[in-house]
């Protein structure tokens, strides 16, 4: 099971979505926290304000009580020393009242009640002042009578009721603010817990997805490894099989050509015997017909004998001989190929550019005769291959380039060599020769096949031989050509021959 593109995209999407969700949850929690902090500030302000109110209420109440206490003490004793609390209260009253009002200012309900208290306090203070003034004027009885009117008492009762209402209200405000604050803390707790759970779920989910994906990835990797191994194994098997098949073909070619040779020896031998016998007959014929001409009186049979002995038999023998020679050449070509195929390759470190230069130097004479030049652009590392095979291939191809040149123009041969990925070397031999017709591009690599004008001598072996050798080296040879323009032969060979040989010999590299 390999991981499909769709599942890869799904994985990326899932992980990304989980990340975004987690991030969103985190942002929500942070924002909520910020809001709650702000709220907490608001609550504490509310609490502070209510506490200030409470303090102001209590202080004012105390002020009035102090003032009353001072008045009562003074009226009872007549001692001015008892008047001290009153005097202090009286002195502070204005400022405290102003402060009280300003504190209540922000709260409409409290302010309403405070406005009600204000005249009560003023009246009370005025009542107190009147009694004290009477006492100071030695009208103590009048002052006491004034007290006994309960006017001051009534004012105080009213004021106390209002004070307690206001006090109650500020207590409630404090309680409410504290409750709200606790509420918001509870909310914060829940939001945090829920957010944390959510984040944990998201992170856990994505971790699970990642783990799942990683596991599949590892599994897929293992599978690829196994496949790869199997593939290598298969390639090795196939290569070995090919090697065996190739060996069999070489062996077959060897046996066939070898067995063809034996009858050829007979044909050749008895043809020679025939020729010898013919010479005997001819000399006998000549000795009876010294002029070389048949006597007309001998009849038509004598003329036929003359033609047969002096013309037809030698001609037939000549054809037999030339055919045998041709057959012998062909058999030798096949033998050469099969022998090359069976040759044990000896890999060694070789410099391709040096080999090319050498091959070019070997044809330098013919190239110069054709008014041509050979250019080599080879920047390749050393290869490990068979020297003899490479020398033969390069030599063969350069000879072809020289041989099949276009006589109308000076010969140009350009040799390029470079390394390609996969540890292979490419050698290209480009000429401006007569070229090969498209139909013959593959055919010229076949044994005994030649392309184009057959006026130049040749057996049609060279390229077949080059291909056999290239394939033995684990490479290949191809060509690109335009008739009349030139030909580019492309060689592709492995940088190192040894792994191939190891496979062919059945050894694990």
């Amino acid at each position: 099971m390999l991981i499909s593109d769709a599942s890869k995209i799904a994985f990326v999407r899932t992980t990304l979505a989980a990340l975004l969700l987690g991030l969103t949850a985190l942002i929500v929690i942070v924002l909520f926290n910020l809001w709650l902090v702000h709220e907490a500030g608001v609550y504490s302000e509310r609490v502070n304000a209510a506490r200030l109110q409470r303090t102001a209420i209590i202080d004012l109440q105390n002020l009035i009580l102090d003032a009353e206490t001072g008045q009562r003490g003074y009226l009872l004793t007549g001692n001015p020393a008892y008047l001290k609390p009153y005097l202090e209260a009286r002195q502070n009253s204005e400022a405290q009242l102003a402060g009280f009002m300003s504190i209540m200012n922000g709260d409409p309900l409290q302010k309403a009640d405070a406005s009600k208290i204000l005249p009560l306090i003023t009246n009370k203070l005025a009542e107190l002042q009147q009694t004290i003034d009477l006492a100071n004027a030695n009208k103590r009885d009048e002052a006491l009578a004034r007290v006994k009117t309960d006017l001051g008492q009534a004012l105080m009762v009213q004021a106390r009721r209002l004070f307690s209402v206001m006090l109650q209200r500020s207590e409630e405000t404090i309680d409410a603010a504290v409750r709200d604050e606790q509420q918001s803390i509870a909310t914060l707790r829940w939001v945090t817990i829920c957010g944390a759970i959510f984040i944990v779920i998201v992170v856990g989910g994505s971790t699970w997805v990642v783990m799942l994906y990683t596991r599949r990835l590892i599994h897929a990797q293992k599978e690829i490894g196994a496949l790869n191994h199997g593939l290598e194994e298969r390639v090795r098997e196939r290569t070995a099989e090919l090697g065996r098949a190739n060996e069999e073909i070489q062996r077959f070619a060897y046996l066939v050509t070898h067995d063809l040779r034996a009858p050829l020896v007979n044909i050749m031998g008895f043809t020679s015997e025939l020729e010898e016998s013919l010479k005997v007959i001819q000399s006998a014929f000549r000795s009876t017909h010294t002029s070389g001409e048949v006597n007309p009186t001998d009849g038509p049979a004598a003329e036929e004998t003359r033609t047969a002995v002096l013309e037809e038999l030698p001609e037939a023998i000549g054809f037999i001989r030339s055919s045998i020679r041709k057959m012998d050449r062909l058999i030798n070509a096949i033998l050469k190929l099969s022998r090359e195929g069976r040759r044990v390759l000896t890999p060694e470190a070789l410099r391709v550019d040096a080999l090319l230069k050498n091959a070019a130097a070997n044809v330098q004479h013919q190239v110069a005769e054709a008014d041509g030049e050979v250019e080599i652009e080879a920047k390749v590392p050393a290869v490990i291959s068979d020297r003899l095979a490479l020398e033969q291939i390069f030599g063969n191809l350069l000879e072809n380039a020289v041989k099949y040149r276009e006589p109308q123009r000076p010969l140009r041969i350009l040799i390029r060599a470079h390394e390609t990925p996969g540890r292979r070397i490419i050698v290209e031999i480009e000429d401006n020769g007569r070229g090969i017709a498209k139909a013959d591009h593959e055919r010229v690599f076949e044994l005994f096949r030649r392309s184009g004008d057959q006026s130049l001598p040749g057996e049609g072996i060279g390229l077949a031989h080059a291909r056999t050798m290239m394939r033995n080296l684990g490479g290949d040879i191809t060509l690109a050509s335009e008739l009349g323009q030139g030909t580019t032969i492309k060689l592709n060979l492995p940088k190192d021959l040894r792994p191939l040989l190891a496979i062919q010999n059945g050894v694990n590299p």
């Binding site: 007979n266 058999i331 022998r339």
Partner: protein, 148 residues
């Protein structure tokens, strides 16, 4: 040739009768008149050389030169070469391998197994005739030991 010795017989093992005939003709042309005993397969040749029991006693006391082709219908010439060189009665008889093969490994193997001479039959008849005639001249002057 040693006048006291028995005349050397040439044992020719060659499946191709045409070749056999050409070889005989050319040996005769070299002036060699020794008896030639031809065999066209390995079994008959071994029957003659080693006897039906393959002990080799059959060859005892003979003076013989063996011309051996490697390609035989019933066995390879190499088998015969090994048997003859491995037998105490026939191991001293000179064996001339005369075959169409010019494969270097084959040549090495033949000499490894004790072949005395290896000659490739040239396809070119002049070459062939020449080689056989020279072999004939060589046979005419060589000493062939009597087999044990």
């Amino acid at each position: 040739m040693n006048p006291h010795a028995k005349p050397v017989k040439i044992v020719m093992i060659e499946d191709d009768e045409g070749h056999a005939r050409l070889i005989e003709k050319n040996i005769r042309r070299a002036g060699v008149g020794n008896e030639i005993i031809p065999f066209v397969n390995g079994t008959d040749a071994l029957n003659y050389l080693l006897g039906d029991d393959r002990s080799g006693v059959a060859s005892s006391g003979r003076q013989q030169l063996i011309l051996l082709d490697l390609n035989l219908p019933d066995m390879t010439g190499i088998d015969i070469l090994q048997k003859l060189k491995g037998n105490k009665h026939t191991k001293r008889s000179p064996i001339v391998v005369l075959t169409t093969t010019d494969d270097s490994r084959e040549i090495q193997r033949c000499y490894d197994f004790g072949a005395n001479v290896y000659i490739t039959k040239p396809v070119n008849y002049e070459g062939f005739a020449n080689a056989i005639r020279q072999l004939g001249l060589f046979v005419a002057v060589m000493q062939v030991p009597e087999t044990a």
